[in-house]
């Protein structure tokens, strides 16, 4: 047991260091290597954080969706933990994406916020996962909590593809940088190859950051559980 704990802690430490190094390199690339965008200028550099962070939030909720299905099939506590912690991390990334998007939108669209369908659906998605956490808090029985959360994690996730495809279903001004954008999109641009390099590196680093958060959060959850067990043992002794 002790040896196993040591090994997983060691792996976690390596992951932490790798993530930190990747993030420093990514930030350096964004500010010193990526070329200045011709029309929007420096503010375009937010793009290298905004898109990966938004992608991470989607990834996090997708992980919850998968974990929910696996939980309902296997009933293993671990998958319930993965589902709930991934929602917490996903919400952090959602806030980052909304804030960074707002900072970019002020100069690019001349407004902090617009009721564009994609922005609106993204916000609704965030509210779904806030509701997910509230549902968890409202139910005392751990098994029931896990089951209900898993069901809601599945039902709620249906909104995520809607968010993604809303740009094609509704007329929108949100630019599509990867793939074909709609003709009315404002603030889109074509990436040059150094831009593409920086973007994909940043995407990779921030995805690793998500897994780093997830691993640390899961460890925290395990430790909290251990503390609870020790407390119970102490009280019963």
């Amino acid at each position: 047991m002790e040896k196993h704990m040591d090994k997983s802690t060691r792996t976690l430490q390596i992951l932490n260091v790798v993530t930190a190094v990747l993030m420093v390199i990514a930030t350096g690339l964004v500010f010193f290597y990526a070329p200045r965008e011709r029309v929007m200028g420096e503010v375009q550099r937010i793009f290298y954080f905004h898109v990966p962070v938004a992608w991470d939030s989607m990834l996090a909720f997708f992980v919850t969706f998968i974990a929910s299905i696996v939980y309902l099939r296997s009933r293993s506590r671990w998958w319930d933990m993965v589902g709930s912690t991934s929602v917490e991390i996903g919400l952090v990334f959602t806030v980052m994406a909304i804030v960074s998007g707002s900072i970019w939108a002020r100069p690019a669209w001349n407004t902090w916020w617009t009721w564009d369908p994609r922005l609106t659906t993204y916000t609704i998605m965030a509210l779904i996962y806030v509701a997910y956490l509230m549902l968890r808090q409202g139910i005392e029985d751990p098994d029931q909590r896990a089951r209900f959360a898993a069901v809601y994690g599945i039902v709620g996730f249906i909104s995520v593809p809607i968010t993604f495809f809303s740009i094609r279903w509704w007329r929108t001004i949100h630019p599509v940088v990867i793939g074909n954008g709609s003709s009315s999109a404002q603030g889109g641009f074509d990436m040059t190859s150094p831009m593409r390099l920086v973007f994909f590196f940043s995407l990779f680093s921030i995805t690793v950051l998500y897994f780093c958060f997830l691993a640390n959060r899961l460890r925290l959850e395990k430790l909290a559980e251990r503390v609870e067990q020790l407390k119970a043992k102490l009280l019963s002794a």
């Binding site: 609704i124 509210l127 549902l135 409202g138 005392e140 209900f148 069901v151 039902v155 709620g156 809607i162």
Partner: protein
């Protein structure tokens, strides 16, 4: 039944099972329908005797329409623009009342356990409850629509609009029944349902409002058709997911 008996119970899966013949499938199907029907009938008779839910939903809907009348300055142009929105907001608010009650009642009287003990497929309970909620919501809308067309001076009783009302209500009640069955177990259950339901039901609401709005101004079919399709797709997806997930919600 004695406590000491340790006789292993016969495992149902072990029994030889031959696939039912076509008439056997038909029998299973009619049995299933009968189970759905009895849950619906139970809710309906209970409501007929008390009439508390329907009257509450009706009065509430009328109040919401009235409040909108004061909250928005409704001249003729504004009326045409917001009528569909007001109609659907009224419908979903009133619907939340009904959905909340449908499971809260069962839980408070302890009849939910009895219902779950019934030797029928759990999804039959879901569909029975869904049909009950749907029926109450449609009854309320049957009253609200004529009142609405008088108060807003708009022709509300178009056949196509009735189709949209039906499809939108099915989608809303479909996902609402599932979420209400979960919300009823939470500590803050009356508050929990709208928080869980509204963000998930937004797609249904958007499609229903757009379709109704287009119908009210007699827009061409190209403006209505896609939203109708969207509604049908949502109805199918939400009810299929609820059908699969309901078992996990009610298991003890």
């Amino acid at each position: 039944m004695s406590v000491v008996s340790r006789q292993p119970e016969p495992d149902i899966k072990e029994l030889p099972q031959s696939p039912p013949s076509p008439s056997g499938y038909w029998l299973l199907f009619t049995d299933y329908c009968r189970a759905v029907g009895s849950v619906l009938w139970k809710d309906f008779t209970a409501e007929l005797r008390s009439k508390e839910l329907l009257s509450a939903m009706l009065v509430f809907s009328l109040l919401v329409v009235l409040i909108f009348n004061f909250a928005l300055e409704l001249d003729k142009a504004a009326r045409e623009n917001v009528a569909a929105g007001v109609l659907w907001v009224t419908a979903i608010f009133a619907g939340t009342l009904g959905l909340n009650r449908s499971f809260a009642m069962e839980k408070d009287r302890g009849s939910l356990d009895g219902l779950l003990l019934a030797p029928v497929d759990r999804s039959a309970i879901y569909f029975g409850k869904l049909l009950g909620n749907l029926l109450f919501m449609l009854l309320v809308q049957a009253v609200i629509l004529p009142v609405f067309s008088i108060l807003f001076n708009l022709p509300m009783l178009k056949p196509l609009l009735l189709v949209v009302v039906l499809l939108g209500t099915i989608g809303y009640a479909g996902v609402g029944t599932l979420l209400a069955s979960m919300a009823v177990h939470s500590r803050t259950r009356d508050v929990m349902l709208p928080i869980l339901l509204f963000p998930v039901a937004v797609p249904v609401l958007v499609a229903a409002v757009r379709a109704s709005g287009a119908i009210l101004i007699s827009a061409p079919w190209e403006d209505i058709g896609p939203w109708l399709n969207l509604l049908i797709v949502y109805d199918v997806i939400f009810i299929a997911v609820a059908f699969m997930a309901f078992d996990y919600v009610v298991e003890e």
